[in-house]
Symmetry: C2
Subunit: 339 residues, 2 copies
Amino acid sequence: MKLASYKNGSRDGQLVVVNTNLTQCVAVDDIAATLQQALDNWAEISPKLESVYQQLNAGTAERAIPFDSSQCESPLPRAYQWADGSAYVNHVELVRKARGAEIPESFWTDPLMYQGGSDDFIGPTDNVALPSDKWGIDFEAEVAIITDDVPMGVLPENAGKHIKLLMLVNDVSLRGLIPGELAKGFGFFQSKPSSAFSPVAVTPDELQDKWMDNKVHLPLISHYNHSLFGRPQAGTDMTFDFAQLVAHAAKSRNLGAGTIIGSGTVSNKQGTEYGTSIAEGGVGYSCIAEVRMIETIRDGKPTTDFMQFGDHIKIEMLDEQGNNIFGSIDQNVVQAAKP
Amino acid sequence: MKLASYKNGSRDGQLVVVNTNLTQCVAVDDIAATLQQALDNWAEISPKLESVYQQLNAGTAERAIPFDSSQCESPLPRAYQWADGSAYVNHVELVRKARGAEIPESFWTDPLMYQGGSDDFIGPTDNVALPSDKWGIDFEAEVAIITDDVPMGVLPENAGKHIKLLMLVNDVSLRGLIPGELAKGFGFFQSKPSSAFSPVAVTPDELQDKWMDNKVHLPLISHYNHSLFGRPQAGTDMTFDFAQLVAHAAKSRNLGAGTIIGSGTVSNKQGTEYGTSIAEGGVGYSCIAEVRMIETIRDGKPTTDFMQFGDHIKIEMLDEQGNNIFGSIDQNVVQAAKP
């Protein structure tokens, strides 16, 4: 099943069911007005949505209209929780290596996770509007899951069943603000502005055997300024699977329905020390920072710039037949209007 | 105006208007079903709520019932954002001093703030249920504000007008988990379980001249196991006022209506180096950690224990006539059921 939230002038959008090919959709006000409402009562509501999905795919759904991802909010335009892991430890190792530090051994057994802002996500094809492009604007291409209610202390082996939907994320990062914030010890805040999610959220069964062991086993494709920048396998080098990330988040608290948990920047080692770029024949990267770190390790300093106003980023995932699964995150970076 | 969310079996509770003495309340389904709904349309809805409040205080409101704070959820039982500052730099200085470190000079000009979990707050008189009391359970008594929509980049001088409601907070902290998490560099996550807020949220005008310069100028009173533990002045030694904290949070993103921002643990220096306890004739503290730090500085090691299962905490604020303004956060710490 595929779900999206159409823009309708409200804060939470209008829940629509989207067909498997992303060509048609249908509003389902009579079942649930918003995706959060559906998640609040998932056991009762999801079978009804599934039924509409079957009709839509069979071409028998009433009131179906052409699907247009530019009309989409992020599937949850605002959420009660956005917690982002950093499950590809290769990414973390690179960051540290570039400043001459080793990662602690515990990073291979204890997931990194930060609490993100979830009150104002950006639509998947809306501009990333920021006051300055001197702050080191970067994209981070990731996979994310949405849970139902998760009890505190859930074990990893029981956490997987709480994963109800999958999405892609552009976890926009302000690299220039990160060192100062991390030095203060309280984690990210200003350095993690609003994130954007793929137009469509899908149930794990949509991925068939590409959803396995609580990981997505397909390449995550990023185009930066219309050139292929990365296509790493999301199922490879993911040190912590999504069930482990859910259990980590729930160690000392319940997670409310509609909790979003991210994978962290998808990053593959590719049998090399830190992976290789598309130009070098590798699978490339899912953020600019990794390229800059490799340049720093290799050349002593980075040469690739961070994003400037006017830059473009597209993030998507195709199935083995080349079909777009989630729709594309497709955004320009622009200067925000002054308040 | 005073507002609360009554338990009604839903996730967001039932918005009620409470009279100034906290003796009567009235459900306002016809105006807004939930506090979040009211905040989403504050300019339109707040005058209608205010009108009910006037009737309630005049004794002319229809359907008024006795107010019972044990029926309350936190005013926002779940929220889209909970960002907690650490505006009483004395508290931060103590934490560092206890481990022999000085605070950076920038801490006096650049606020500390962390992103908290907001998907599952605890009711003000509900138990604080946690899996273990070996994690260093502590309370933190704080003041918090709720905003309407705040534009990215708002200046401190324009941020104050976005403060719509005030509350108290028990920002439950797991001190034993903090050092490990902060060492990882991503800030708090497991070490900050669900917070609880006062039964009632009030508009700033309720505090009359005790709301001044975007600070609350009244003592915040904590009783730990039924003994007075602290009554520091919330308006004293608050290095950053709430308008500055809002502006800090909004530097690189909009803040959605219903954003909660906390002051951090209220802490007074009292003309001494680090403040003094109630037993020593001082105003005491708003968390156990501060006492332990003073013991560490003075005696080389802490002697006061953190909270154990069965312990009790009450947090409240009285006006100059001794009236309870927000109702009391009144909680027992208990062992959580296994998932």
